[in-house]
C-alpha cells in the first residue's frame, strides 16, 4: 500500500482527447496529438514541416478551462488538458470560416496537377458543405499574369493568405524570396518591391507551389498537361539529377509523364526539390530526344544504327584505348538525364568489367 507522502512512480503525462486519455511527449502540440489519434482536425495553414503559425483557425478545439477555443496547432499539450475536437459549436465555426475563405476567392476547383496540396481547400469545402454563396463581397488577391517565368503560376485570385509559401521559402528553403506585403484584406504575397520572381532571390525550387492549399501558386509545367486524357498515376522514384537522392513521385497519364511531385516522406528531401528535379522533366518526352543509337561513320556524321552495331563499335573503341594506353586510361561519366538503371550499369561495367573506379555523374552535386 502506498503510504501518504510517499512518491508515486512518475506517470506518463496524458491529455484527454474526446474522452480518451492519450499519452504525449513533452513539446507536442494538440494538433500533433490529434493527428496521431486520426481525429481529422481540419486546417489550411498547417504544414508539418513548418513552425506552427495559427493563421487559419480551422484547427480550433475546445479546451476545458479556456475562455475561447484554442488553435490546436499552436497549443502545446500539458498534462491533464481536456480537449474536445468536434463539438457542434466548433464545427459551426469551422464552416463559417470556410464560407468566409471561399467568399474571397474566385474559384475553388483547381486541377490537381497544380500542386501537391492544391486540393486541400476544395476537400474541406466539400466536407463541411460550406455554402459558397454566403458572405459575398469584395475579393482579395490579384493574379500576377505579368510574371512570365516558365515554372510558377502566381494566380493570387485563389490566394487565401495562409502564408505557407512564405514560410516554406524562409524555413525550408532558407531563401526568403517571397514575403507578405500590406495588411488585413489587402495582404498580398510579394517579392522584393512587388516584382517578378526572376528578379527576386527565388530559386524556383517549387516548394511554395507544393505547399499551396488552393492552387494559387501552381506548377506551370504540369498544368500544360491538363488536357491529356487519362487518370493521373503516381510512381515513386528518385530524382536522377544529383547525388542527394531526393524521392519524387512521377505523375503520368497513360504513357505520358505529366509532372513531378516531391515525396513528403522522402528521407533525403522531406518534400523539397530543386528547380531541376521539380520542373526539368521535359527532356523525357522531348521531340529532339534520340530514339535509336547513333554511330559516327567515316563521313564524320552521326547515323542511326542497331543496338548490336552500336555496342560492338563502343566495345571496339574501348578495347583499342586499353590496348594502346592501358585500362587506367578509361573514365566514364553518366548523364544526369539517364535512367538510374543505366547509371548503375555504367558503374558496374567500369568497376566489375575493368576493375576501375574512374566513374562520375555529370550532376554530382
Amino acid at each position: 500500500m502506498i503510504q501518504q507522502g510517499q512518491e508515486e512512480p512518475a506517470a506518463i503525462p496524458t491529455v484527454n482527447i474526446d474522452g480518451a486519455n492519450v499519452p504525449f511527449t513533452e513539446g507536442e502540440t494538440l494538433y500533433e496529438i490529434c493527428s496521431r489519434q486520426k481525429k481529422d482536425v481540419p486546417t489550411l495553414c498547417y504544414d508539418p514541416r513548418l513552425d506552427p503559425f495559427g493563421g487559419c483557425r480551422l484547427c480550433v478545439v475546445e479546451l476545458e478551462g479556456a475562455r475561447n477555443p484554442v488553435a490546436s496547432c499552436t497549443t502545446r499539450a500539458t498534462a491533464g488538458m481536456k480537449v474536445r475536437t468536434k463539438t457542434e459549436a466548433i464545427e459551426n465555426h469551422r464552416r463559417t470560416l470556410l464560407e468566409l475563405v471561399v467568399s474571397e476567392n474566385r474559384q475553388v476547383e483547381v486541377d490537381e496537377l497544380a500542386g501537391y496540396a492544391s486540393q486541400e481547400l476544395k476537400i474541406l469545402v466539400e466536407r463541411y458543405d460550406a455554402n459558397r454563396g454566403r458572405f459575398q463581397g469584395k475579393q482579395s488577391g490579384q493574379s500576377r499574369d505579368d510574371d512570365d517565368n516558365p515554372f510558377i503560376l502566381r494566380d493570387y485570385d485563389q490566394c487565401i493568405s495562409c502564408y505557407r509559401c512564405v514560410r516554406v521559402c524562409a524555413e525550408q528553403e532558407g531563401d526568403h524570396a517571397i514575403s507578405v506585403m500590406n495588411r488585413g484584406f489587402d495582404t498580398r504575397i510579394t517579392t522584393e518591391f512587388n516584382g517578378l520572381l526572376r528578379d527576386s532571390d527565388c530559386t524556383f525550387c517549387g516548394q511554395c507551389v507544393q505547399t499551396c492549399p488552393t492552387g494559387a501558386l501552381a506548377d506551370k509545367k504540369a498544368l500544360k498537361h491538363v488536357d491529356v486524357p487519362g487518370k493521373i498515376e503516381k510512381t515513386r522514384s528518385v530524382c536522377p539529377y544529383c547525388g542527394v537522392g531526393c524521392s519524387v513521385d512521377l505523375l503520368s497519364k497513360g504513357d505520358k509523364l505529366v509532372g513531378v511531385l516531391p515525396a513528403m516522406d522522402g528521407p533525403a528531401n522531406e518534400g523539397a526539390l530543386c528547380v531541376k528535379g521539380q520542373f526539368a522533366f521535359g527532356f523525357v518526352q522531348h521531340d529532339d530526344r534520340l530514339k535509336t543509337p547513333m554511330v559516327r561513320d567515316e563521313d564524320g556524321k552521326l547515323h542511326a544504327t542497331s543496338w548490336d552495331n552500336a555496342l560492338d563499335r563502343a566495345a571496339e573503341g574501348l578495347r583499342a584505348v586499353v590496348e594502346r594506353h592501358g585500362r587506367e586510361a578509361l573514365y566514364a561519366i553518366a548523364s544526369g538525364r539517364a535512367p538510374h538503371e543505366a547509371a548503375y550499369t555504367m558503374q558496374k561495367m567500369m568497376r566489375a568489367g575493368w576493375g576501375l573506379n574512374h566513374i562520375d555523374n555529370c550532376s554530382r552535386a
Partner: protein, 551 residues
C-alpha cells in the same frame, strides 16, 4: 543641419538596441519616403532579407514609398473627427496631397493634421501647431493619482518634476528590496491600464522570478485605440513620471534595458520624451551606474502594434504579426527573454503608489474597486478631455456632472466603450459604473478607457461603419476570421450584404460569433462588438439603413 549619409545613419544606429525602426525613421526623415535604394541599403546593413524588409515596410501605413511621402499632410478622419467635419477639411487639403489617417489620438482637440513632425489644427483659417491641453480638474475635488501633480507649472522638466514630488518613489524603491517593491504594487491592486487589466504585481513577479536575462521593460505607448488620448497627455505633460515608473519596474524585476514604443502620430511627444530622457541621464537617474537605460522607439503607423506581442515583433524588426501565446512576454518577450510590457498609465501610476503606499492607491477607488482610471472622453459633450476617475464612478456622473453633458437641446444616444473595441452602450446600458464587472455585464468592457459620446442626431449605422472600416484597415492579416470578417462586416454596414434584416442579422451574427471565438488576438475578438451592440440597441436604425440601400 546637413542631411546624414547612409553611412552616418548606420554608424549612429546599427549597433543600438532595436535598430530597425530608428533606421527606417532616419531614412524616412531624410528622403521623405522609403525608396528602393534605402531599402536595399538597410537590407545590406542589417543583413535582413530584402523581401522581408520590403514586406514589413509596407505593413506600416505612415511609411511612404514615394514622394511626396512624409511631407504630405495627413488629416485625421477618426470617428470623432468625422463628426467634426474632417472629411470636408480633407477635401479642402487634397490639393496639397493630403491623405486621410485613422484616429490620431486627439479627439478632444480640433481635427488634427499631421505634417512631417508637427501636428497642426485649423484655427481662424491658419494651420497652427497644437499641444496637449492640461486636464480639467474634476468638480468634486476627488483625489487623483496620475493627474495629482500634472497641472503644476514646469512639471514636464526634471526640476519641475522634482519640485513637485517626482523621483521620490524611485528613491524609496531603490532603498527597498525588489521583492518588497513588487509586493507593494501587488497590494495596491494596480492592474494593466492599457485595457487588458492584468495585475501589474503578478506580471513583475513573473519577470523577476525568471532566471534568464537580460530583462526588458517596455512601455506600450502605441496608443492607437480610436477615442483614446490619455497616454499622450501623460507623456506630454508628465514625461518623467513614465520614466520613473519604468526605472522602478526595472529595479523591481532586475531589468537592464527599456523601450518606450511610441505611436507614429505623436511626433511632439517623441521630442518631449527625448528631452526628458536626456535630463534623466544627465542627473544620473538612467544609464551608467544605475544599470538601467531606456530608449524611445517610434512605430510606423499600425494599430496592431499596440497588441503587446505585435509590438515586440515590431521592436525586433520583424513583421508585426501578433505572436502565438503561450509563451507570454513575461518569459518570452523582447528577444525571447523575460519582458514587462506595461501601458503608459500603468507605469505613471507606479511612482505615486511607491510614495504614498499601496493602501492609499487602493482607497482611491470606489467600494472594492482599487485605484483610478483615466478616461478619455470625447464627442458630443460640453467638456471633452481626460478625466481621472475613481474606479466604480457612475458613468452618468462623469458624463453629466464632470463633462457638462451633451449640447443643449440634444440627448445622449449612445457611448462607445474601450475606444471602439467595446462597441456601444445605450439606454439602460448607460447605467453602468466605470469598472470592468459593471461594464462587462452589459457585454462591453472599459478597456483603455476611451469613451466617445454620440448624441441623438448621429447616424449610428454610419458610426458603426466607420468603426468597422477602421478595424478592417488595421487588421494585420494573420488570421482568417479577422482578416476576412472585418472586411465582410464593413461591407454589411455599408452598401453590401443581404437586404433583409433577418438575413443581415444571421450573417452578421455568424461572422461575429466566429470572430469572437476563433480570432488570434484581441482585434478580431473585439471588432464584432460593434455590430453586436448596434443590432442590440439600434435594430430600427439597421432596418432603416437596409431599406435605404436597397430601394
Amino acid at each position: 543641419m546637413p542631411s546624414p549619409t547612409d553611412a552616418e545613419i548606420f554608424t549612429r544606429w546599427a549597433n543600438t538596441e532595436a535598430p530597425l525602426l530608428p533606421i527606417l525613421h532616419a531614412f524616412h526623415d531624410r528622403d521623405g519616403f522609403l525608396g528602393e535604394k534605402a531599402i536595399h541599403a538597410i537590407s545590406e546593413a542589417l543583413r535582413t532579407p530584402i523581401a522581408d524588409l520590403y514586406g514589413t515596410v509596407t505593413f506600416y501605413h505612415h511609411f511612404a514609398q514615394q514622394a511626396p511621402g512624409q511631407s504630405a499632410p495627413r488629416v485625421c478622419t477618426g470617428p470623432i473627427c468625422k463628426l467634426k467635419g474632417a472629411d470636408a477639411l480633407l477635401d479642402a487639403m487634397r490639393g496639397e496631397g493630403a491623405t486621410p489617417m485613422a484616429c490620431s489620438g486627439r479627439c478632444d482637440d480640433p481635427v488634427p493634421v499631421l505634417k512631417g513632425h508637427q501636428t497642426l489644427v485649423a484655427c481662424d483659417g491658419q494651420m497652427t501647431p497644437w499641444y496637449s491641453p492640461i486636464p480639467i480638474p474634476n468638480p468634486g475635488g476627488l483625489e487623483e493619482c496620475v493627474f495629482a501633480s500634472i497641472r503644476e507649472p514646469d512639471r514636464g522638466t526634471h526640476d519641475g518634476y522634482r519640485r513637485t514630488g517626482g523621483y521620490l518613489g524611485l528613491e524609496k524603491a531603490l532603498a527597498t528590496d525588489p521583492a518588497a517593491v513588487r509586493q507593494t504594487i501587488s497590494d495596491s491592486g494596480l492592474a494593466g491600464r492599457g485595457g487588458a487589466g492584468f495585475p501589474t504585481g503578478r506580471k513583475w513577479d513573473a519577470v523577476a522570478e525568471d532566471p534568464r536575462g537580460p530583462k526588458t521593460i517596455v512601455c506600450n505607448a502605441d496608443e492607437g485605440e480610436p477615442g483614446c488620448f490619455k497616454d499622450r497627455t501623460l507623456m506630454d505633460l508628465d514625461p518623467h513620471a513614465v520614466i520613473e515608473g519604468m526605472a522602478i519596474a526595472a529595479h523591481a524585476t532586475g531589468a537592464t534595458r527599456g523601450f518606450i514604443y511610441l505611436r507614429y502620430e505623436y511626433p511632439e511627444t517623441a521630442q518631449i520624451l527625448e528631452r526628458a530622457l536626456k535630463e534623466a541621464r544627465a542627473t544620473g537617474l538612467l544609464g551608467g551606474q544605475t544599470g538601467f537605460d531606456l530608449w524611445v522607439r517610434r512605430g510606423g503607423g499600425a494599430y496592431i502594434c499596440g497588441e503587446e506581442t505585435s509590438l515586440l515583433n515590431s521592436l525586433e524588426g520583424k513583421h508585426p504579426f501578433p505572436r502565438n501565446r503561450p509563451p507570454f512576454p513575461v518569459t518570452h518577450g523582447y528577444e525571447n527573454l523575460p519582458t514587462v510590457v506595461n501601458n503608459v498609465e500603468t507605469l505613471a501610476s507606479v511612482p505615486p503608489i511607491l510614495s504614498n503606499g499601496a493602501d492609499w492607491y487602493r482607497q482611491l477607488g470606489t467600494g472594492e474597486h482599487a485605484g483610478t482610471k483615466v478616461i478619455s472622453l470625447s464627442g458630443d459633450v460640453l467638456r471633452p478631455g481626460n478625466y481621472e476617475v475613481p474606479l466604480g464612478l457612475p458613468l452618468s456622473k462623469l458624463l453629466h456632472e464632470w463633462a457638462g453633458g451633451v449640447p443643449e437641446g440634444r440627448a445622449i444616444q449612445a457611448v462607445t466603450m474601450a475606444g471602439l473595441s467595446g462597441g456601444f452602450l445605450a439606454r439602460e446600458g448607460l447605467d453602468v459604473t466605470l469598472d470592468e464587472p459593471s461594464i462587462r455585464a452589459q457585454g462591453s468592457f472599459l478597456g483603455a478607457g476611451g469613451i466617445m459620446v454620440l448624441d441623438d442626431s448621429r447616424d449610428m449605422v454610419a458610426v458603426a461603419h466607420s468603426a468597422m472600416e477602421f478595424f478592417a484597415h488595421e487588421s494585420c492579416g494573420k488570421c482568417f476570421p479577422c482578416r476576412i470578417g472585418t472586411a465582410r462586416l464593413t461591407e454589411r454596414l455599408g452598401s453590401g450584404g443581404p437586404a433583409s434584416f433577418e438575413s443581415w442579422r444571421e450573417e452578421v451574427d455568424d461572422i461575429g460569433s466566429t470572430m469572437k471565438a476563433t480570432s488570434a488576438c484581441g482585434l478580431g475578438m473585439a471588432a464584432p462588438l460593434i455590430t453586436e451592440s448596434l443590432a442590440r440597441w439600434f435594430p430600427d436604425q439597421v432596418e432603416t439603413h437596409l431599406n435605404s440601400t436597397t430601394s
